[in-house]
């Protein structure tokens, strides 16, 4: 068969960014924002995120928390993202983002409350515009597009500075229609929106190579007319540079961007998962060699910014922070049962009064019974 002559219509490249190699050595001059204070702050927050996750998993194992998704191994992405955002920006997260939550001002006791089944845990007192943790996959990316529209609309109507929305997700989420629909809209409406994909290699048991035939996750943005970049997600400097650059561009009206942060989920998918069923010990062992905390620790020590003494001080400080948070979480008064009706609608419809009263009466009876029991 005769083969027609084809002409090149479009081409694209995907760039890769790294500042610290897997051994923690600088591969190029560090960005200007990477002051000693900034570096040690990020290191502290990554340590704290790891501690919170570790404690949360232990609490789940002892039956005090429900199912919990750790972010072990991905701390650099969360901390860099949360750190780059302004307070007025809006963060639209998926569920594996402890570091980002902490940087956004979400309290540890709120995180613990949420995963221990207390819905007040997502009533963030210090991140009032941020969206709650999103459990279904990729839906938050569309919410983020709506948020970004609202931010742009407010900017145009009121002349206020343009704020930015950030949506985060795992690489599994990029298989969903919501992801493509969000990117498509962001591209065509030039929304101030940054997508950060935590490519941690595994969507529960399905590896990256079985998830998509796409050579990179980043290139999925090209089809939507959105600039995209791959970064070493275990190198906090690379993630921070990419997020800051994307935020800056979005703030100046240049529209959305996608960042594929390549990392590795060192933990199980959640506490209800057993990753040893589907991935090898060797692979996990390999992944520990390039994890983000050790890498930054090595770099900081090579620059004389860190030492055993400083580490001991930090360990003591963070243990105290954790202890205080645990006490605050444990001393929360339980919500009244009728709270399940209190926030269903702004005002309880009349047709629900009967069910509300029924629940309240059941509760009163139970209390009375407890009281009588105590007397005996």
């Amino acid at each position: 068969m005769h083969k027609p002559r084809l002409q090149l219509q479009a081409s694209f490249d995907i760039a890769w960014l790294q500042y610290l190699d897997k051994q923690g050595r600088a591969t190029q001059p560090l960005p200007e924002f990477a002051s000693p204070d900034w570096l040690t702050h990020c290191y502290r927050q990554m340590q704290l995120a790891r501690l919170v996750d570790d404690r949360a998993v232990k609490l789940q194992r002892t039956g005090r928390l429900g199912t919990y998704p750790s972010s072990l191994g991905q701390e650099a992405i969360g901390v860099a993202t949360g750190n780059a955002l302004m307070a007025e920006d809006v963060y639209c997260p998926y569920y594996r983002e402890t570091g980002a939550f902490l940087e956004r001002g979400v309290r540890i006791e709120e995180i613990l409350a949420n995963w221990s089944g207390d819905e007040r845990g997502q009533n963030y007192q210090h991140a009032p515009r941020d969206l709650p943790i999103c459990i279904p996959i990729a839906t938050q990316m569309l919410h983020a597009a709506g948020v970004a529209f609202a931010l742009k609309y407010r900017h145009q109507q009121q002349g206020s500075p343009l704020q930015v929305a950030i949506a985060s997700a795992g690489e599994g989420a990029t298989s969903k229609g919501d992801f493509y629909e969000a990117m498509n809209l962001a591209g065509v409406w030039k929304l101030p929106l940054v997508f950060v994909v935590n490519n941690n290699q595994w969507a529960i048991s399905v590896p990256r190579v079985a998830q998509t035939g796409s050579q990179t996750i980043a290139q999925k943005a090209i089809a939507a007319g959105i600039p995209a970049l791959q970064v070493d997600g275990n190198d906090i400097l690379a993630v921070a540079w990419a997020v800051r650059d994307a935020l800056q561009r979005a703030r100046s009206g240049e529209g959305p961007a996608l960042i594929e942060a390549i990392s590795y989920r060192l933990c199980d998918h959640t506490t209800a998962d057993d990753a040893s069923r589907y991935r090898s010990a060797e692979e996990l062992e390999q992944a520990w060699q390039w994890e983000p905390l050790k890498r930054l620790d090595t770099y900081l020590r090579s620059e004389n910014l860190w030492s055993d003494g400083k580490q001991q001080d930090l360990d003591r400080e963070l243990a105290q922070v954790m202890e205080t948070a645990l006490n605050d979480w444990e001393s929360r008064t339980p919500e009244p049962a009728t709270a399940i009706f209190d926030h269903l609608y702004a005002q309880l419809p009349e047709s629900l009064y009967e069910q509300y009263d029924q629940l309240r009466d059941e509760q009163l009876r139970e209390k009375l019974w407890e009281k009588e029991g105590a007397v005996q």
């Binding site: 639209c92 007040r120 709650p132 709506g146 229609g177 498509n184 809209l185 269903l344 047709s351």
Partner: protein, 351 residues
């Protein structure tokens, strides 16, 4: 519990409108309500497929983009999941999005966002964020449309906690209820009966007056039988009531209008007079709103009943292509059959 009905307000509005304004259709009233909301609340944005220059496939948004600009009235890419999802994000930041689905048959990709997010946002953040969204969709059969354009699946949505499901059945109620839906602090699914989009004209003054949600409307008073219907079926139900009246039987006709949360009190009050009830809807029968209404009636008013609640509904089949859609849709004859079954019922089966 207070017995609050929208009937009085509806009547007052209808009295005023006869004096003041030129008659408009139901779809014209939707347009008028959207224009009023856009003009009076800068947080309102209207978006969907083909709603801008084209004014929507049914012209519900005709002229709005020209009047309010492309930042308030937006054509979206063709993606229903996206339309439902971005409304959630917009609403959490203080906007009042009004999202149009072209047909109810295309709403299902958006169901995930309506069910899993819009209706749960207030609850899961314990009131920190909320979703004052109106999702609009023309629904129902009878316009000779292609497949997937004629569904009446409101019961899927009335099952969702935290949602309001509102269906107008006249131009005045379309205007007043849509304004109320837009001003409501919670998500509302606003289903527009497209078969009667242009079936009748009525003067509807553009006075910005909302009609109450969660309240049924008594469209016709009577003491022998209660007929309950909403949307386009109200037309045939009123026709059946007129025919019964000619035979000396006075039927009360109630339009619940807000299907969720349901105003059962107006229905029970009516049953105290009539003791017999027929629910009419063009949706499939199994698990439909008729089942919910019948269940609530027997819970609250079993002793009032002189006959089982009758259901006159679509069949439990796929909504057929249009050559057979009139076979499927409950018409006046089927409503009369249902009414007679309720009227003729005698305990123990003796006629």
């Amino acid at each position: 519990m207070e017995n609050r009905t929208g009937n009085e307000m509806g009547e007052r509005q209808e009295a005023t409108e006869l004096r003041d304004s030129a008659p408009i259709t139901l779809v014209g009233a939707v347009n008028q309500a959207l224009a009023h909301a856009l003009a009076n609340d800068p947080q309102v944005v209207v978006f969907g497929q083909d709603i801008g220059a084209n004014g929507g496939v049914f012209r519900a948004t005709d002229g709005l983009q020209k009047q309010f600009g492309t930042q308030r009235v937006l054509d979206t890419p063709l993606a229903e999941t996206m339309i439902a999802g971005i409304a959630v994000g917009m609403a959490t930041q203080g906007l009042r999005p009004v999202a149009e689905f072209q047909f109810m048959g295309f709403i299902y990709p958006g169901l995930d966002h309506i069910l899993s997010h819009a209706t749960r946002m207030r609850n899961r953040t314990r009131g920190r964020l909320s979703c004052p969204i109106v999702y609009r969709a023309p629904y129902g059969g009878g316009i000779h449309a292609p497949e997937h354009h004629s569904e009446s699946t409101e019961a899927l949505f009335t099952h969702i906690p935290g949602l309001r499901v509102v269906v107008p059945s006249s131009p005045a109620r379309a205007y007043g209820l849509l304004l109320a839906a837009i001003r409501d602090p919670d998500p509302v699914l606003f289903l527009e009966p497209k078969r009667i989009y242009r079936a009748a004209r009525q003067p509807v003054p553009d006075n910005g007056e909302a009609l109450p949600l969660d309240s049924a409307f008594v469209l016709r008073e009577g003491s022998d039988l209660t007929l309950i219907a909403w949307g386009a079926s109200v037309k045939e139900t009123l026709a059946a009531a007129a025919q019964l009246s000619a035979e000396g039987i006075e039927a009360e006709v109630i339009d619940p209008a807000t299907l969720k949360p349901l105003d059962i009190h107006t229905i029970i009050d009516s049953l105290e007079k009539t003791r017999r009830c027929v629910v009419v809807h063009e949706a499939a029968r199994f698990g439909g709103m008729g089942a919910e209404i019948a269940a609530q009636i027997q819970e609250y008013a079993f002793d009032l009943l002189d006959a089982p609640v009758q259901r006159v509904t679509g069949y439990d089949t796929v909504m057929p292509y249009y050559q057979l859609e009139n076979v499927y849709l409950p018409g006046v004859e089927r409503i009369l059959d249902g009414a007679r079954a309720a009227l003729d019922y005698r305990r123990g089966g003796a006629a």
